[in-house]
């Protein structure tokens, strides 16, 4: 520990006094959360508020023969029942996705995944709505379904998306098959294939990063309230990106954006699940516009898990080519991406496979090629970046596992293999074979420090001893050692590369200092537990010299917060 200079001491005292960066400030959010005084969407009650609930398909793939809402409408307390037939004249039975596809708001002629939304009941309370959804009579004609993405593009595969079956060009280029969404390629295929054909050693493995669900503890929900007299819509909701939702709602409803007020209050976890727009939001908005009353929609856990955006579902055939001594020469990856029934992937628009091309990872790999095929299946649509930026977890999983497999084949320690292949400090800024430029890094030092901190050599020895004892029958316990070296693109930028539906990705902050010396600061981000109210104030306190306790941080209200692309996390 270095001796503190007078300047260090002064700085540290200043930090403590201001509760600025570097001090352990207790979270201001916790005062209300520990007292049950958070303000989550379902806590909000408005006079005259109605409640919406969905009728959902039991089938994964079926034609809708008929929908009869008579019995539901006759139930006392039911105000309206919406079907695609009601939304179609408004052009709202489909909505655009963030990935350039369209997604059914309410199923019109077909259902494409189990629990897909078929009708929206609006009633006086949630109990009546729950009864009413059982009274909507839907006749289905079940069709064979596809749940294996490898079967999506078979010649005899049933066509899932009849609504776009004649479109041979999708948002990201030509489609090879009616169930194909896009092919995305990057890198030098010819050069890569050439290296592979001549290499001493190659490995090839299929890694499946299976479909998971972000499953925040609070499900997705909203309240739409249309003021017909002023012609203004207020929409509260679980929105990680409130301004984007405002823009999307404006685009699909035709309401001018300046007359839409979106408010994301406290959110009970997001993890990517609350980035996109869901049928519940659209139907609540339509319901409120038609009925002139607030409409609340709160999904239950089964609805959340089976219909809102999943994460991952990447099938990655990963190959490395190397010399006998363990120098990696090339990487070749093909990904089959299962997007479910609609491509609702929340990636920056130019990146249908997110930043999967970070898959050369932390290593100096001179040539590489990546191709990604996205396909439709009869599953819920998506995916999102669950707790990580766009597809980077998938990419890192692929390269790190591949390095382990290669090490095993070479009979080499995998830490040693990594050290041999890291991008060296003097190589920065480094242009990777698949396009990204890495600005800085010293990977070998980081690796060495980690290995020293856990006494890696000793662990490997312990592992070897345990294996021997196991072989001799002396123990049933063996030991695994896992290494993962994670190079991540954090945040979506720069703007020239990253946009959402044409809105360049950026962030914004607005700081206002009051005459009496306190501050209100608003950002275009939106915390769902990250603690922005506490930490942003610390940053401003350090920079401006005003105590953090005198700084109020606000997010989530699109009327007052400057435009931003929200917070993913």
């Amino acid at each position: 520990m270095n001796q503190q200079t007078p300047i260090d001491i002064e700085r540290s005292e200043r930090t403590d006094k201001l509760q600025g960066m570097g001090c352990k400030r207790k979270r201001v959010e916790d005062i209300r959360f520990t007292q049950g005084k958070g303000n989550y969407v379902d806590d909000i009650k408005l006079p005259g508020m109605l409640f919406g609930d969905f009728v959902r398909s039991p089938h994964a793939h079926a034609r809708i023969i008929s929908i009869d809402t008579t019995r539901a409408k006759a139930l006392p307390g039911v105000i309206a029942v919406l079907t695609a037939a009601d939304l179609k004249p408004l052009g709202l039975h489909y909505m655009p996705t963030l990935a350039g596809d369209v997604q059914a708001v309410l199923a019109e002629e077909k259902v494409l995944f189990q629990n897909q939304e078929v009708a929206f009941v609006i009633a006086e309370d949630r109990y009546i709505a729950a009864d009413a959804i059982e009274l909507v009579d839907v006749v289905y004609d079940a069709l064979p379904c596809i749940v294996d993405p490898y079967k999506s593009m078979s010649p005899d595969a049933p066509i899932l998306r009849e609504d776009i079956k004649d479109k041979m060009v999708g948002a990201h280029g030509p489609r090879k098959h009616p169930n194909h969404i896009f092919e995305w390629q990057i890198g030098d295929q010819k050069a890569t294939d050439e290296v592979f054909s001549k290499a001493d050693v190659t490995i090839k493995e299929m890694f499946v990063d299976h479909r998971t669900h972000p499953s925040p503890l609070e499900t997705c929900q909203c309240i739409a309230s249309m003021d017909k007299i002023k012609g203004e819509l207020t929409l509260w909701g679980t929105f990680q990106a409130p301004h984007v939702i405002r823009t999307v709602v404006s685009l699909i409803s035709g309401l001018p954006e300046h007359k839409i007020h979106v408010i994301a209050p406290d959110i009970g976890g997001g993890f990517g699940n609350k980035v996109g727009a869901y049928s519940g939001y659209v139907c609540s908005v339509v319901g409120s516009i038609v009925l002139g009353k607030p409409v609340k929609w709160v999904e239950d856990r089964m609805e959340n898990l089976s219909t809102t955006s999943f994460a991952r579902d990447y099938h990655m055939t990963t190959e490395l080519a190397a010399t006998n001594e363990g120098k990696i020469l090339a990487m070749r990856v093909h990904v089959l991406a299962d997007h479910g029934a609609f491509d609702a992937c929340a990636d920056p628009s130019k990146w249908p496979a997110g930043f999967m091309n970070i898959c050369t990872g932390s290593y100096d790999i001179p040539v590489a090629h990546l191709s990604v095929d996205g396909v439709y299946t009869n599953k819920a649509s998506g995916g999102v970046a669950y707790r990580c930026s766009f597809r980077v977890t998938e990419a890192v999983f692929a390269i790190e596992r591949a390095v382990e497999v290669l090490a095993h084949k070479l009979g080499m320690d995998s830490a040693e293999l990594r050290m041999k292949n890291f991008i060296k400090p003097e190589q920065f800024p480094y242009r990777a074979a698949l396009g990204w430029e890495y600005d800085s890094g010293d990977y070998p030092t980081a690796m060495k420090k980690a290995m020293e901190a856990i006494n890696y050599k000793q662990l490997r020895q312990e592992q070897a001893e345990k294996r021997e004892a196991f072989r001799r029958g002396e123990t049933r316990e063996i030991m695994g050692i896992g290494i993962s070296f994670f190079t991540e693109i954090v945040g979506a930028g720069p703007s020239k590369n990253c946009d959402i539906l044409g809105v360049a990705m950026f962030d914004s902050a607005e700081i206002r200092i009051h005459p009496t010396g306190s501050i209100i600061a608003r950002m275009g981000t939106k915390s769902q537990g990250q603690g922005h109210e506490t930490t942003y104030a610390q940053i401003i306190a350090t920079e401006l010299g005003i105590p953090a306790d005198d700084i109020m941080i606000e997010e989530g209200n699109t009327d007052t917060a400057p435009y931003g692309l929200g917070t993913y996390g």
Binding site: P216, T219, G268
Partner: protein
């Protein structure tokens, strides 16, 4: 179907309400009593976000009908602060030890911990972990939740909790 009258004590006050037999206790608390601290996370009795204290028991209020609570004594998160309005030891512990992020599981966690510390005023770490097994958190990874409860136990017992100083 005619509604039924119930009468119970909530956070020390006598309350009355009219409920259907099927009205869940969580909805009675949140919608009729406007106590929105208890939350619905899973609706199937797994996550514990709806936990309240009822007749000296930790109860998942989404798994209970309001009618079953007729005549009972209930405490919700809104009722655990000290009489002078300061945070209870548990509420303070959760704040001091960073035992929450989004806050959604927190009222249920605190209500369960509240009962746990009455069952066992000096729990070991293992006893705490088993003791909150009916409460799920998607944000924190539980380590700081355990520390928050240890902090509270130490404060209530008047013993030292070294990690609190950090």
């Amino acid at each position: 179907m005619p509604k039924k009258q119930i009468s119970l004590t909530v956070n020390g006050r006598l309350v009355e309400g009219l409920v259907e037999p099927r009205t869940l206790l969580i909805h009675f608390i949140r919608e009729q009593l406007n106590l929105t601290g208890a939350h619905i996370g899973c609706d199937t009795g797994h996550c514990g976000a709806c936990t309240v204290e009822m007749d000296n028991m930790s109860v998942k209020s989404c798994m209970t009908f309001a009618l079953q609570a007729d005549g009972s004594n209930i405490t919700t998160i809104e009722g655990v602060a000290n009489p002078d309005g300061t945070l209870s030891a548990l509420q303070e512990g959760f704040r001091m030890m960073h035992g929450l992020q989004c806050g959604y599981c927190t009222p249920g966690m605190i209500m369960r911990a509240h009962r746990l510390l009455q069952e066992n005023p000096n729990p070991t770490e293992t006893e705490i972990r088993y003791g909150i097994a009916g409460n799920l958190c998607r944000c924190t990874g539980y380590v700081n939740i355990v520390k928050a409860i240890q902090y509270a136990a130490a404060k209530i017992n008047g013993t030292a909790f070294p990690e609190a100083a950090e």
